[in-house]
């Protein structure tokens, strides 16, 4: 069920109506049922996978919590008899048991994800290696199903498990409630990746029908559809033409494609998340925000704190920190400081763990070298930026006013967008060499006149489409600017009733009339469902 399908709209509508009609204590059960129906409709063969993840995570988390309870009780009881060392030793021993359980669960679930997602990638690499060594033998590709949203629900469950292991909170007792946390349907396909302590309470609570909340949720959904259907799906037509014809579309076309893609991706992904969060809001549930006007970022580092935020913080908390502050890493750091000097030694933990994080981030996005190179590209840019920090400081000391100047702000935002867009070319083109080649043509093929000689009109979009896109983007931009001083929906709420009706009905009409859907347009899937 695509977010843009009638079936999905109907499904959401039916769920919402039932949700407020049935007794409140059944609400979360309804959501669980709805989520499983949703998942079943997406593909019955997916069910076993999410089931295994749910059950294994539930049981092991419960076990870890109960072990922790035993430890606490024991220590409390024997507080006086035990020395500090004894206590420490006991704790460490017990922790080891929990650690093994944690590893087991990670192994099962990351294992499922890895096997389903990366087996063919591995086989392809082995095959090309065999060819390099002159062997004619070839491994056959395997035909695994890749369950919808597996990357998202696996990450969400593993985050929960690690938190339980760390003692951040106790494991959920009710297996069905936990199952709902894993499978909550609005965020199943493309995130956000929620944390248990953020989502659980609002998910299980009883929610009274509140017309203001419901209206607000619906408004957010509408805004999401606007971005998704009016902008992203329309832009997609041109993007596809450009990236599917690398022979034909070079030079300035690549540049145009890069920007179009940046636009499409933004509208598609943030629009999808708006729909997700809006649906949750309609149900009275608060889902963590995933974007914070990312294209307004001053630099790449900031960008990554404002784009797909829940995934970013997941990688920080569960990969970056554990690696960079673990004992071996600290020892390595000490060792290098002694032997290679202060400067290098200090950087080792950060660099090594960042490398791992970006490699993982890349491969999480897709099993191909394109994504790995893309991830590492981000790594390189961020590290360069980090190393140039002293230069920036010099620059700002010399031109203290630059920071406040509008031109400088625009320059920085433009730079962020250009950098991100050029890195993203890796997920447009077929393979890594082709991407480099296409990137190169921007500087070798000097055909900037195609941007205004009408050739852009041969990509599947007409003048009117470009006008709609332009106006649509202006609206998104304006809303983003307004957002700096608080929720735009909140601001609209203060206006007179007829004005409000006109605004929201107007937006509805715009989606209805200018949405790129139906015959002639093929509603593209949310780009993000694929991960």
């Amino acid at each position: 069920m695509l977010f843009t399908s009638y079936e999905f709209l109907f499904f959401v509508l039916a769920t919402c109506v039932l949700y407020y009609v049935i007794p409140k204590k059944w609400q979360w059960m309804l959501l669980l049922a709805a989520s499983y129906v949703f998942y079943f409709l997406a593909g019955a063969s997916y069910l076993p996978y999410i089931f295994v993840t749910t059950v294994s995570t539930y049981l092991i988390a419960r076990k870890i919590t109960s072990l922790q309870a035993v430890v606490d009780a024991y220590i409390k009881e024997h507080k006086k008899e035990l020395s500090r060392e004894e206590r420490k030793e006991y704790k460490a021993k017990e922790k080891k048991k929990q650690w093994r359980l944690l590893l087991l669960c990670l192994f099962i679930n990351i294992g499922i994800l890895a096997v389903l997602k990366y087996t063919n990638f591995a086989i392809a690499n082995v095959n090309s290696m065999l060819t390099t060594f002159g062997s004619t033998a070839k491994l056959d590709f395997v035909d695994f199903v890749l369950p919808m949203g597996i990357s998202f629900y696996t990450f969400q469950s593993m985050g929960y498990l690690i938190d339980v292991y760390r003692g951040k909170y106790e494991a959920e007792k009710n297996p069905f409630r936990f199952a709902l946390f894993v499978s909550f349907f609005p965020q199943l396909v493309q995130g956000p990746i929620s944390r248990f302590d953020d989502l659980a309470k609002t998910l299980y609570e009883e929610h009274k029908f509140n017309s203001a909340t419901v209206a607000s949720g619906l408004q957010r959904i509408l805004w999401g559809y606007f971005k998704k259907m009016v902008i992203a799906d329309r832009m997609l037509v041109a993007v596809n033409t450009l990236i599917k014809g690398p022979e034909e579309y070079q030079g300035a076309f690549v540049f145009a494609g890069m920007l179009f893609y940046a636009l499409e991706l933004y509208a598609d992904f943030t629009g999808g998340i708006d729909i997700t969060i809006g649906i949750a809001e309609t149900l009275g549930i608060k889902v963590t925000e995933n974007f914070h006007r990312p294209y307004f970022s001053k630099n790449i580092k900031e960008y990554w704190n404002r784009w797909h935020m829940t995934m970013g913080s997941w990688f920080t908390d569960y990969i970056f920190y554990p690696i960079s502050v673990c004992q071996p890493m600290l020892k390595l750091s000490k060792f290098s400081r002694k032997h290679f000097g202060e400067i290098i030694g200090k950087r080792i933990p950060v660099y090594l763990s960042s490398f791992v994080v970006w490699f993982t981030t890349g491969i999480w996005h897709g099993a191909s070298w394109n994504f790995i190179v893309w991830g590492l590209g981000n790594f390189v840019v961020i590290m360069i930026s980090q190393e140039l920090e002293p230069l920036y400081r010099m620059f700002h000391k010399k031109f203290p006013k630059a920071d406040k100047a509008l031109w400088f702000k625009i320059f920085r935002v433009g730079r962020t967008i250009l950098l991100m867009s050029s890195l993203r070319m890796f997920d447009c083109y077929r393979d890594v060499p082709l991407t480099f080649k296409m990137f190169g043509t921007m500087f070798t093929t000097w055909n900037w006149n195609v941007l205004w000689n009408g050739q852009l009109l041969e990509l599947g979009l007409e003048v009117k489409d470009y006008i709609i896109l332009f106006l649509g983007m202006m609206l998104v931009f304006t809303v983003s600017m307004l957002q700096r001083s608080g929720s735009v929906r909140g601001k609209i709420r203060t206006l007179a009733f007829p004005v409000r009706v006109i605004i929201w009905y107007g937006l509805f009409l715009v989606v209805l009339l200018f949405g790129a859907y139906g015959v002639g347009y093929d509603a593209s899937q949310f780009i993000y469902n694929q991960f």
Binding site: K464, F497, V501, L513, F514, Y517, G518, V519, G520, Y521
Partner: protein
């Protein structure tokens, strides 16, 4: 207390008013966006015209362009006193024909239904645009629901038929004068379902049929033909199968055999006008306007004459000339008919003269 009540009822009232305005404006918008089919592609307006008719026909034609371009009810009335109507539409598929027949028989029970069997060659939905032209014009009924369900291509959605605005929303940037002019009222594009053309383009080099791997008609096609036969039997209507005299698309001998057999088995009359060309006096250098696909007025008159003779002599349909109500209705229709002939003839002559210069 009183005040609270008041404000509450005011809220309800506002809600109602807003809802009515929104639904009303959406309805108007939808009407505006749906194609009007008044100029150029008029074939899309045919199906809806039937509902304005007095439902008292002796003969109803069902089928694709091979009926609505090849037979003219006006002549059947003038010469044979037969009151007939053509429920035809472009590339009407056999299940669409069946459901149109089903619907028609809810309005009236004619003596004879004539079905053109070219659409037997299609066993699956073909084209969204043609679907639309046949289906959008139908009024809502179980027949329409079933017809839509049977006709939808893989990427079509039922809801798009319920709310055509979902299908035609992209027309918002292509609206033209017609869309406003014909928002509430439409002109007639046919003469009792007949689509008239007087121009001429001789048939030449009509390609032979290329061999097919499988000449048997599809199961689905047969299923609906069976249903049609059964429905007519049940309602006491005589079903006549025809193959119009069009030269193209090619009508294979193997198809002919199957139709002859089917007619025999089911005790139906089957008329193949391709074999009656000489008897009708059809001349494909002058009687077609597009090189043999469709007949022009002169051709249609010849074919209709043969059919009129057959219907009155062989089937025994009595002339209803003199029935006052029919005479007045047809008087008006014939006026329009001849006016149209004059108009087109003049236009055609001008075009020819222009061409010669």
């Amino acid at each position: 207390m009183e005040e609270k009540k008041l404000s509450r009822s005011r809220k309800v009232l506002t809600f109602c008013v807003v809802t009515i305005i929104i639904i009303g404006s959406l309805y108007l918008l939808q009407k505006l966006l749906v194609p009007k089919y008044m100029t150029d592609i008029v074939e899309g307006a045919m199906i809806a015209e039937y509902y304005d008719e007095e439902h008292d026909h002796d003969v109803v034609f069902i089928g694709d362009c091979e009926v609505y371009e090849n037979f003219t009810p006006a002549l059947l009335w003038e010469e044979y006193g037969i009151n007939s109507y053509i429920r035809g539409s472009a590339q009407q598929l056999i299940w669409q024909s069946y459901y149109l027949l089903e619907e028609t028989l809810k309005y009236e029970t004619p003596d004879v239904v004539i079905f053109n069997i070219l659409s037997m060659k299609y066993n699956v939905p073909q084209n969204e645009a043609y679907n639309r032209m046949t289906l959008d014009g139908m009024k809502w009924s179980s027949s329409k629901v079933n017809s839509v369900k049977a006709s939808m291509m893989e990427d079509e959605k039922f809801l798009d038929y319920v709310f055509p605005v979902l299908r035609y929303h992209t027309r918002i940037t292509e609206l033209n004068g017609d869309d406003f002019k014909y928002l509430f009222h439409k002109d007639k594009v046919t003469h009792n379902g007949y689509y008239m053309r007087v121009d001429v383009k001789a048939a030449e080099n009509v390609p032979k049929g290329r061999p097919l791997a499988d000449y048997s008609f599809g199961e689905t096609a047969y299923k609906y033909l069976d249903k049609m036969t059964a429905l007519c039997k049940e309602k006491g209507v005589q079903l006549i199968l025809v193959k119009a005299p069009s030269l193209y698309p090619y009508w294979y001998d193997q198809w002919e055999v199957q139709m002859e057999e089917y007619a025999k088995e089911n005790d139906l009359v089957y008329i193949n006008f391709l074999e009656l060309q000489e008897e009708c006096g059809l001349d494909f250098t002058t009687d077609t306007y597009d090189g043999g696909l469709h007949l022009n007025l002169s051709g249609a008159e010849k074919a209709t004459k043969w059919l009129g003779e057959f219907l009155s002599k062989e089937i025994g349909l009595a002339s209803r000339r003199g029935e006052e109500k029919l005479e007045t209705a047809w008087k008006k229709k014939l006026d329009a008919y001849y006016e149209e002939i004059d108009r087109q003839t003049k236009e055609w002559q001008e075009k020819q003269n222009g061409g010669e210069k």
